[in-house]
C-alpha cells in the first residue's frame, strides 16, 4: 500500500505543513487529469484562487469567477461533485458563457468537487484534462476524501490567520469549550478535533469569542445539524 498514489497524495497533504499554495498538486498524483486549482468562495470565505498547478487551471477558476457560473459554483451550491468527462459533446446548457469562454482553452474534461466542512461552504476543487476522460467511482471517492482534508486545512488556516479570535486563556473558558466540544461531537457524529473546529469556525464566522459559542451550545441555544456529506453525483 505504500505505493498507492492516493495514500501518497493524502500523506503529502497532511505532511505539507498545510502550505496553502501547494494544496492543488496532490490531486494530480492519483487522478488522470492535467491540472487542478482550488478556490475559496461562498458564504464563508472571500472569493480567491488559493492554489493552481498551472496557468490554465488558474484561468478555469478565473473565468468562473468572472462569469459567475461554471462547475465549481454548481458543485458548492449543490454540495456534490460535477463531472464533465467530455466537454465537446456535452449536452449541458447550464453554463453557456463559461462553455463558450473555455472553448479557446484546450480542455477535454472538467470536474469540480465541493469543499465543505459540516454546514460551512469553503470553496471547490476544479480539475481539468486536455483529453476527454472519465473518473472511476473509486477515483471520485478518493477525490472527495482528499477534498475533505483540503477543507480542514483551509479552514484551520483561515482561522489561525485572523487576529479576531483571542486565545481562550482562562481555565474556565477552556472547560466550557471542552464541554461544548463533547456536545457538538455527539451532534455531528464526528471527532473531538472536528467538533472543536466547528465551534471555532462558528466563532470566526460570527466574530464572537469561542466561549460565547460554547455557552450557547451548552445552554442549547445553538445546535449543529449532522455533517452533510457531499451528495450523489449528477
Amino acid at each position: 500500500m505504500a505505493n498507492d498514489p492516493f495514500l501518497m497524495a493524502s500523506d503529502a497533504l497532511t505532511d505539507s505543513g498545510a502550505r496553502i499554495s501547494e494544496l492543488a498538486r496532490p490531486f494530480l498524483r492519483f487522478l488522470p487529469v492535467s491540472g487542478a486549482s482550488i478556490s475559496t468562495f461562498g458564504s464563508f470565505l472571500g472569493a480567491e484562487t488559493i492554489s493552481a498547478t498551472d496557468a490554465r487551471a488558474g484561468r478555469v477558476d478565473e473565468l468562473q469567477f468572472d462569469l459567475g457560473e461554471g462547475p465549481c459554483w454548481d458543485a458548492l451550491v449543490n454540495r456534490r461533485p460535477v463531472l464533465e468527462p467530455d466537454l465537446a459533446s456535452t449536452s449541458r446548457v447550464s453554463w453557456p458563457a463559461f462553455l463558450e469562454a473555455i472553448r479557446e482553452e484546450e480542455i477535454g474534461a472538467i470536474f469540480a468537487f465541493p469543499l465543505l466542512f459540516g454546514p460551512l461552504e469553503i470553496g471547490a476543487v476544479d480539475l481539468y484534462s486536455i483529453a476527454p476522460v472519465s473518473l472511476t467511482p473509486e477515483q471520485q471517492g478518493q477525490a472527495l476524501a482528499l477534498s475533505a482534508i483540503v477543507s480542514r486545512i483551509i479552514l484551520r488556516h483561515a482561522i489561525s490567520s485572523t487576529d479576531n479570535l483571542p486565545d481562550e486563556t482562562t481555565t474556565f473558558s477552556r472547560r466550557l469549550i471542552h464541554q461544548a466540544t463533547g456536545m457538538v461531537l455527539a451532534q455531528l457524529g464526528t471527532t473531538a478535533e472536528d467538533a472543536h473546529l466547528v465551534i471555532q469556525a462558528r466563532a470566526f464566522a460570527e466574530n464572537r469569542p469561542m466561549r460565547e459559542i460554547a455557552q450557547d451550545v451548552i445552554e442549547r441555544r445553538i445546535r449543529f445539524a449532522a455533517l452533510t456529506e457531499p451528495g450523489p453525483i449528477l
Partner: protein, 237 residues
C-alpha cells in the same frame, strides 16, 4: 448522622484510601473520592481540589458539583482568593465570613456569595517542601469549621497527598509534574465526555458527570477511561 456513624464512615474512608494506594490508582479518581468523602462526612456544602499545572497556575481537578457555577467560583478563587493564598503560603487559610474578607478578594467573594457560599476553608496539599495544590471546603453557613472536621479534613488531605507523592519519591520532580499534568489533561477528556453524555442522554452537564462517575464506579474503572470511551463513541450512557 450521629458521631459513631460518622466515625465509622471516616474509618471506612481511610480504609478505602489505603486500599487504593496499595492496589494502584488514577490520581483523578483518588481526588474525586477525596472531595466526595469530605462532602459526605464533614460539615461542608461543597468541596473541590485544585492542582498546580505546569505553569504553576491552579486548575480545578475535582469538585463535589460539576455544575459550572461552582467550578467557576473555585477557578476565580484560584486567581485571587483564599485558595491561591493557601497555595502560595502553603498554610491553611480560613475565611469564616466572606463578607469580612470581601475587600481583599472582591471578585471571588461576590461570585461565591451569589452561589450561597459564606465561608471557606482551604488546606494545602503538601508534604514537606512539595505543595501540589489545595483542598477547598465551602459552607453555606458563616463561621469557623469545627475542630473535629478540621482535623479530619487535614488527615484526609495528608493521606491523599502522601499517596500521590510516595510512589514517586525515588523518581525525579519532573515525573511528579508530569503525573499531575496528566491528571489535569485528563480533565479535558472528562469535560468532553460530559458534553457527549449531556447531548446523548439529554441531561445537564452536572447530571452527565454523575452518570459517568456512577458508571466508572460500578465497573470499577477510572473516570478517564470511561470518558475516553465516551468521546470516541465506543460507549454510550
Amino acid at each position: 448522622m450521629n458521631e459513631t456513624t460518622r466515625l465509622k464512615l471516616l474509618f471506612d474512608a481511610f480504609a478505602t484510601f489505603a486500599d487504593t494506594l496499595v492496589v494502584g490508582y488514577d490520581i483523578l479518581d483518588l481526588l474525586q473520592t477525596l472531595v466526595e468523602t469530605c462532602h459526605d462526612l464533614l460539615d461542608v456544602d461543597s468541596a473541590g481540589i485544585l492542582l498546580a499545572n505546569a505553569a504553576d497556575k491552579l486548575e480545578v481537578v475535582a469538585s463535589t458539583s460539576e455544575a459550572n457555577t461552582l467550578v467557576e467560583v473555585m477557578q476565580i478563587d484560584a486567581d485571587a482568593g483564599p485558595c491561591l493564598e493557601c497555595f502560595r503560603t502553603r498554610a491553611v487559610v480560613s475565611l469564616p465570613d466572606i463578607d469580612v474578607g470581601s475587600s481583599r478578594w472582591a471578585a471571588f467573594c461576590d461570585t461565591a456569595r451569589a452561589q450561597g457560599i459564606h465561608s471557606v476553608y482551604a488546606i494545602p496539599l503538601r508534604l514537606r517542601d512539595t505543595t501540589i495544590g489545595t483542598l477547598n471546603l465551602m459552607r453555606n453557613e458563616r463561621g469557623e469549621l469545627n475542630q473535629h472536621d478540621i482535623r479530619a479534613a487535614q488527615a484526609l488531605a495528608d493521606v491523599a497527598t502522601i499517596g500521590i507523592l510516595q510512589e514517586r519519591t525515588i523518581r525525579d520532580a519532573s515525573t511528579l509534574r508530569d503525573q499531575l499534568q496528566k491528571a489535569l489533561s485528563s480533565r479535558i477528556i472528562i469535560e468532553q465526555a460530559k458534553g457527549v453524555v449531556a447531548e446523548t442522554a439529554n441531561v445537564s452537564i452536572e447530571a452527565a458527570f454523575d452518570l459517568i462517575r456512577r458508571h466508572a464506579r460500578s465497573h470499577q474503572t477510572s473516570l478517564s477511561l470511561v470518558a475516553q470511551r465516551l468521546v470516541t463513541r465506543d460507549l454510550s450512557l
